[in-house]
Amino acid sequence: MAILSKEEAQAILKKVLSYSKADACEVSLNGSDEGNIRYARNAVSTAGQIDVMSLGVSSTFGKKTGTATINEFDDASLKKVVERAEELAKLAPENPEYMPPLGPQTFSESLTYNAKTAAMNPDTRAEMVAKSLSVSKGAKLEAAGFLVNANRFSSIMNSKGLFAYNKSTNVSFSVTMRNQQGTGSGYVEQDFNNLDKMDTLALSKIAASKANGSAGAKAIEPGKYTVILEPLAASDMLGNMFRGFDARSADEGRSFMSKKGGGTRLGEQLFSENVNIYSDPLNPEVPGSTWSGDGLPVTKTQWVQNGVVKNLSYSRYWASQKNTQPLPFSRSIVMEGGNQSLEDLIKSTEKGILVTRFWYIRMVDPQTLLLTGLTRDGTFYIENGEIKFPIKNFRFNESPVIMLNNVEALGKPVRTGSGLIPPMKIRDFTFSSLSDAI
């Protein structure tokens, strides 16, 4: 029920719009079918399946908008939700930032759907988890993990004739393996649209190897170190930065992208010259939706080129205020790197620290994007191109902006979350204290 085809969604949306008496009407119809299995202490702890679909109507008279939502789809319910949105619109104040609906747009076909992922069921999930448990039990480690997959569709239509539809699948797996003494811990995390790419056995072996390899960690002094960030650790740092590529907060003077004296840092060299970041929903490794929630086409966009800020994201309203074109952001982020593997980066390092992942990252100062957080699940000391020994976890206080000014080398990007992120070698990364946590 929850996953409608393009034609089925279009038919419901058309029907809803036919009931509208407002000056403008925008309708959205979304559904998802999600299944999960959770395990801890080498046994399944919970499992669930949730199936939802809902329809939202925004009706506008002049600049007064009302919104109502429903999860019943018979004709009477559809009429009722339109009437309710119209009743509420009449009682709403004028929205000075109201933007009239867009007319029809052209969208590329997305690559977000995979039939095999869509066909996953409780048995598929149990088999995938059984592979992970075989690794932990075989290695006398204790595993705690989570596997979740989702099928989703989203669609919008408005009274100016715009229609957009997207269908997507996703499977996400993570596992923590700990030794029985509680002195070592390893972790992996991976997302794909395509089930065929997800190998829970191979991933679990990495977690097991990190759990064994991180046991018996030694304490070294906090301070500034050259670090090699695995793609997961690098992605943990960058996620906070991408939210700052918003023109409005930069123009308003309350973002690290704001310029002293007014204006934004668009066009400034903010990072090292080897930093290149773009988003592309049609990249087959990190496919994303080709339209944004307000109906704009999402296309390949360069955000940083040779360290220079090339674009900021503009909402339709803010673009109209600044006489520019609206530009939506995309989660399909690609940070370009080189051809070196993680091992190559380690080999070329005289003294440094390898970081598997970061944890509990929080903003300390939005002005400089200073973040704090800790290393977790495998931190190692590197000397003369080799991993010498595991080290105790550190707390860091560092800004991703400063970090991307200290780039020594970038490796080959790999899928991490919804982006393609390279492993990175960064100099002068600031660790401020030690943690006893394992």
């Binding site: 399944v44 919104t67 104040p93 004296g261 509990y360 100062d365 704090t372 800790l374 943690s435």
Partner: protein, 544 residues
Amino acid sequence: MKRKDFLYLSGMGMSALLLPDLSAYGNPIDPLQALDRVDPKIKKELADAALNAAKSKGATYADVRIGRYLNQFVATREKRVQGVANTESYGVGIRVIVNGCWGFAATNQVTKDGIAKAAEQAVAVAKANSKIQGEPVQLAPQKGYGEVSWKTPIEINSFEVPVKEKVDLLLNVNDIAMQNGASFVNSAIFAVNEQKYFASTDGSYIDQDVHRIYPTFNVTRIDRTSGQFKTRNALSSPMGKGYEYMHARPEDKVSGIVTRYKGRYDMLEDVKEAAKVASEKITAKSVEPGKYDLVLDPSHLWLTIHESVGHPTELDRVLGYEANYAGTSFLTLDKWQSKNFKFGSDKVNLVADKTQVGSLGAVGYDDEGVKCKKWDLIKDGVLVNYQTIRDQAHIIGEKESQGCCYAQGWDDVQFQRMPNVSLQAGKTKLSVDDMIKNVEKGIYIVGDGSFSIDQQRYNFQFGGQIFYEIKQGKIVGMLNDVAYQANTQEFWNSCTDICDESDYRLGGSFNDGKGQPSQSSAVSHGSATTRFNGVNVINTARKI
């Protein structure tokens, strides 16, 4: 009041930027619907249908939660209403034990047929999982209470207050902020009503009506010349109260260098001070890093208690159930078994309490039908207990659960969640002014800010809203760029003084996340102003 007047301003939808996924809260509804009730007689019939279906399919234990979860959000920015949303989520969650293993299923088909089908699914899940289950579930015994009910002791139901009144208040808050030097201001009111019906094969039928409220704002001051911006958040607290929380009386105010609130909140007064503080921060001195004695106001200390005491005393974390997400705990069972693990100084007494009036965690019974209570976690500085639910109690030799089971909605499985965890006030008379008089080199911190702690809860770093420098017993000015770092055990052992009961106040978290898929819960933490000696303070200023 006429329907039209009640609905005025009430259905604008919500900016996606403000609330990432409104559907997580439920379906938008007519705010008048929020005042409807489902008759407990009907709920009992439905609950019996669930329990009978589960038993007939082989369950040795079953519980059912029929939940109606209502939320209201009102959000504004400067002169503009950004959004108003009223949501409802209504359905049934059924949990069973079959072959010694848990199974759970949920449905929004709240009919006898829909419920019976869900019960069948829950049994099927339990049977499937039992094939790879290790030890069978051991439930602590629980007597049935029969038909009972509990209600948050509110004076005014937030959902009966028209949206217009809330919008007018928030726009007034924004106006005051702008008049007092703010460059930007966001303000919001959130209200929650959980109408929960629990029944189990132990013979309990528990009807509960739980209310929470959270007013908040954020003021930003921009200084274009220096390129700086500074913010100050509200000193309100989310509370287990009705709309009476918004009607402050003189006795609810704690005067001092900044006004703080106890029991009720004056949003208009707080925002006026906030706008001035945001401006003052632009020129405040940057802190010299080093060791300082910290004087922590309850509006700040609640978060340190939450992260460094609340989470590590969760027994599921201690046992490894949260290892893949939130983490485990440094408070391992051997430390508790030793009966002499010195968590803090002798002055440190931390209690878990799910009965405290006005707190976010207060309910009559938890989400597996256990009557709520109060117990010691840290007694005279020593670790003496954890937080447990029915299937964990036997692990620490308890004969009954401590009533810490909670699910964020009917469609989420209930699991162990933090009760209110609070630091007991000092037993001897001590005011904040007297505490500060004895500090030679210190920082007085009000309000919560940035927070981060490791996965076993040893190493933490906290910021705040307002920092005052103390020199030779006097507040000498405001500081910027302050964060303190400590190890949990060292920090609580550096506690030297706690103000008396008259300064005791509650802070809290409206959305504490835990579990996979993640669930949110609300919890309060009380304390009086407390002193910690020789804590490491860092300077967080950077240049980019």
